[in-house]
């Protein structure tokens, strides 16, 4: 950190920060991937940051989860540490450089999960006060049944903490997951107004959702400098005289 610590809403960068939120199975990662492709094709420099991915903190989180050593408080703090590392390394520098930064999950994930785990909602909001306010925060609103179907159909076993098994809702992991995610949805709904989350109806088709996302992003891109950095492949295809 250099100079005085900047707080939520006070950062000024030439770049833009777009983030997606929603419960597991809401389709938010797919939408973010499609947004990334589009921004890159438009010639923007895009940088991607994923929840829980700081190399520095990852081992601790992994170990804590595996051995079920985490309490509500340490769960919250270790994720905040991870997020701080990503803010300082992966989010602020590219924003300063004028890049488009995309994040799959952001502070609102922590607000939802940690509060369901029993941490004070004011405390966790203060904890993340150093976060950069996103240019647009998309919330993919999904009914629980739809998300459950998508998850139970496709994925490997649900994990202990993802299902909120530490909270003792139920001994059955699927039932626990359902109850836990239901509470998460309640928290997200409270945040829509509080943080101005942009709601996308995640029951619509992938294409319809993406069209809507791109329209909103387009407006937010006004005033940015298009970097128009062509990748080597594009240049190579130009050189070869291909049509596009």
């Amino acid at each position: 950190m250099s100079g005085v610590m900047k707080m939520y809403g006070k950062h000024r960068f030439p770049g833009r920060l777009f983030i997606v939120e929603g419960i597991d199975g809401s389709g938010k990662s797919t939408q973010l991937m499609l947004l990334q492709k589009w921004l890159e094709s438009e010639g923007y420099v895009v940088s991607f940051s994923e929840w829980n991915s700081s190399p520095l903190v990852k081992d601790v989180t992994k170990r804590g989860k595996k051995k079920q050593m985490l309490t509500a408080m340490t769960f919250s703090l270790i994720h905040a540490t991870d997020f701080a590392d990503r803010t300082e390394h992966d989010i602020i520098p590219p924003l300063k450089a004028g890049a488009m930064v995309l994040a799959d999950r952001y502070i609102y994930t922590a607000f939802a999960r940690d509060v369901v785990r029993g941490v004070s909602s004011k405390w966790v909001r203060d904890l993340y006060a150093f976060a950069v306010k996103p240019t647009v925060a998309f919330y993919f609103r999904t009914p629980l049944d739809v998300a459950m179907k998508r998850i139970l159909g496709g994925r490997d076993a649900i994990k202990y903490y993802e299902a909120g098994m530490d909270l003792g809702f139920s001994d059955d992991i699927e039932e626990s997951f359902r109850v836990f995610q239901g509470h998460i949805i309640d928290e997200y709904e409270k945040m829509v107004e509080e943080f101005g989350l942009v709601v996308i109806d995640a029951t619509r088709s992938i294409e319809e959702q993406q069209t809507q996302v791109r329209e909103i992003v387009t407006k937010a891109l006004e005033g940015t400098k298009k970097t128009r950095i062509r990748r080597w492949v594009d240049l190579a295809s130009l050189a070869m005289g291909s049509r596009k």
């Binding site: 950190m1 520095l56 903190v57 408080m73 300082e88 390394h89």
Partner: protein, 238 residues
């Protein structure tokens, strides 16, 4: 009402009424002799029949080891470092300190949130933000602040371990060399500690005397805290 309270919103699922022991903090800058005195106090208290838990920073089962490694790499940003320390601290608070207090132990801790806050403030963290973050911490029964003037501190550090990268604040590029950086960094830390004396009710201990002198002074003060009855007992006898 139990004796203990939190600084802020506190920890979920902790019943303060259950905590019976005493929480005693030793604070002070690097090289002031904290760990020496913790060792002596522990022995002395145990000789007098008290069960003692001694604990310190970066010793948590969860994050301690990784935090030490991360420091060796010198790649931590200021906010990240503050939060990593707070994770380590929360793990020790919940898994060592609170269970020991529940069991009626005297907990002697080498540094507490005050050192963590001072270091973070010096690295640019917002003091108000830090106070909110550490709202989950327990208020100690006593905070003994071992105080040493900067000149004495320098002499002592040269005589013992020499200048350490982090203790010299080398990550902050404050001086030409380790010596210059150490002096500036430690002066700044001292100033932050001094500001906390009144805010948090530190009990200042002059650490410039011999180990024996300082220990005698400290021992008497610790004893009065250990013998002091909690509000609960007072209420009952009243």
């Amino acid at each position: 009402m139990g004796r203990f309270s939190f600084f802020g919103d506190g920890l979920p699922e902790v019943d303060l009424e259950e905590l019976k022991g005493k929480l005693i903090v030793l604070e002070g800058t690097d090289g002031v002799g904290r760990s020496t005195h913790i060792g002596l106090l522990k022995q002395w208290l145990e000789n007098h029949g008290h069960a003692v838990l001694d604990t310190g920073m970066t010793r948590s089962a969860l994050a301690g080891k990784r935090l030490k490694q991360a420091k060796e790499g010198h790649t931590l940003g200021g906010i990240t470092m503050s939060l990593f320390y707070s994770t380590d601290f929360a793990d020790r608070l919940e898994n060592e300190i609170i269970p020991a207090l529940r069991a009626g132990f005297i907990v002697l801790t080498d540094r507490y949130i005050y050192s963590l806050m001072a270091r973070a403030i010096v690295r640019g963290a917002d003091p108000e933000w830090l106070r909110e973050v550490y709202g989950f911490a327990l208020k100690p029964d006593a905070i003994f602040y071992l105080r040493l003037k900067i000149d004495d501190l320098i002499t002592r550090v040269i005589q013992s371990t020499g200048f350490d990268y982090w203790e010299s604040g080398m990550d902050m590029h404050m001086g030409e060399d380790m010596y210059e950086s150490f002096v500036r960094y430690q002066k700044w830390l001292l100033a932050e500690f001094d500001k906390m004396v009144d805010v948090y009710g530190f009990d200042v201990v002059d650490a410039s005397g011999s180990v024996e002198d300082v220990f005698e002074d400290l021992r008497d003060r610790v004893m009065s805290v250990v013998e002091r009855n909690g509000d609960e007992t007072k209420l009952r006898s009243a």
